[in-house]
């Protein structure tokens, strides 16, 4: 029997109640599905004094259409998102990414908000207590050095959420509700390039929902990932692509990466392909551009060299598929 450390559990019924409970309880953390948080607690990485369960809040639990797009509540499960017909039709990369997260049991209760806020991952961090203690811990938790880059004071744990790149190519925005204000920001502004502190969220703020804009509905998009076990794993490299064509040339091309940097990353410089035809030469240049912006470190059992190659190959494969020229 392996009890969790002691904590007090709260199950609020509204976002306002949740925010108030957070303010009243030092050392509180939010809990949704628990597929990341409870694991980290069992491993001794997280030791919250209180857990605030967001799964009972009705307003966080649905997907609905609004004037300017589709709003997805943060407590919507990954299974619900993957199975939503309008999302699959208008934002295919998002449905593909949701269906590719973990395994079916995890998707039945893991949530959209939880996947977006997923803690960064590294072979020296997301491990059992005995394994971490035998390495004298690491910079991100309890230790003094980063075993991946021992010379520096930076943490390179990789952001490994699958939804973020798919939402980024569709220009998603997120709604954050804090104790004093509600704000709406581009999803890209939610992440920092720091494995130790990768979410630009203020203390007490709750990620309430994601908005997929109408302007990007129907644009062909796709998501693919490479993982060690095809049926269940986190990505070792993941890529989302969105492509629209006009008169035989590229009108809009967006690529976003995951699992190769401490943050999900929109590839810079794809506008240079506007007007170009999708052909072998163009795909070679795109693969080069995407892999050059992936900066994987030795945070997985798979080598950084291979993961950069995978990013190039996925960029090529997905854009060829979207242009239907395979």
């Amino acid at each position: 029997m392996e009890y969790l450390p002691k904590f007090q559990l709260f199950r609020p019924l509204s976002v306002e109640q949740a925010a108030a409970l957070y303010a009243e309880n030092d050392g509180a953390r939010f809990l949704a599905g628990g597929t990341d948080m409870i694991v980290n607690m069992r491993r001794g990485i997280e030791t919250p004094a209180a857990l605030i369960d967001l799964s009972q809040i009705p307003e966080l639990g649905d997907i609905h259409e609004e004037n300017d797009g589709m709003r997805i509540g943060a407590a919507v499960t990954l299974e619900q998102l993957a199975a939503h017909a309008a999302i699959a039709r208008d934002y295919p990369a998002v449905a593909e990414a949701a269906a590719a997260i973990a395994g079916p049991t995890h998707r039945a209760y893991g949530t959209v908000g939880g996947n977006l806020c997923l803690d960064t991952r590294c072979i020296f961090y997301n491990q059992s207590e005995w394994w971490r203690s035998s390495n004298a811990y690491c910079l991100k938790h309890r230790g003094e050095i980063c075993h991946v880059a021992p010379g520096g004071q930076a943490c390179f744990a990789a952001y490994s959420g699958d939804l973020a790149p798919a939402l980024l190519v569709h220009d998603a925005r997120i709604e954050l509700i804090g104790p004093e204000r509600r704000r709406d920001i581009p999803l890209g502004d939610f992440f920092r390039d720091d494995g130790m502190d990768h979410l630009a969220i203020e203390k007490g703020e709750i990620l309430a929902s994601v908005m997929l804009p109408k302007a990007s509905a129907g644009a062909p998009s796709a998501y693919a990932k490479s993982r060690i076990r095809g049926a269940i794993d986190f990505p070792v490299a993941g890529l989302a692509a969105l492509l629209t064509l006009r008169g035989g040339g590229i009108e809009k091309l967006r690529i976003a990466l995951t699992a190769v940097n401490p943050r999900p990353l929109v590839v810079d410089g794809t506008d240079a392909f506007n007007g170009a035809e999708v052909n072998d030469n163009m795909l070679d240049k795109l693969a080069e551009l995407a892999s050059s912006q992936a900066k994987p470190m030795t945070t997985t059992t798979v080598s950084p060299w291979y993961r950069r190659r995978v990013i190039g190959a996925l960029a090529r494969r997905l854009v060829a598929r979207l242009a239907e020229i395979e």
Binding site: L9, T35, D53, S55, P104, T105, A108
Partner: protein, 156 residues
Amino acid sequence: MTTPINLTVNGRRRQDMVPDNMLLVDYLRETIGLTGTKIGCDGGECGACTVLVAGDPRHACLTLAVGCDGLDVETVEGLTTSGRLSAIQRGFHEKLGAQCGFCTPGMIMAAEGLLRRNASPSEQDIRAAMASNICRCTGYVKIIESVQFAAKALAK
């Protein structure tokens, strides 16, 4: 801190005071004595602890017992009625779906969840629905045959 919960476990209503930090798997095994549900890994990787909560498969080792307040929880012990094995249990028995048996309760509950949603799953459907469950003996072929046996038995 403890919190009162009202729930049903295998169809029986229960009322218990449980510690806030108690996992569903410990509630099932230690409080109620239902030791069919197994603890295999340290975090949702193996699926041995799979039970059904409100009809959906769930890792009992990543679920707080208090989180099941008001819900129906089903474990492998709840499948047998009047001393007769259910279709999925007969499938694992007839097709030798269990080797060492440790993953079997989780496999059976994941398969039970699948068969309730999809009474005639293809082999691909079975593989996809049971991807969260790992068998260290690697007897996957017999496990798939066990689920197919159960689907056929249910169709009769």
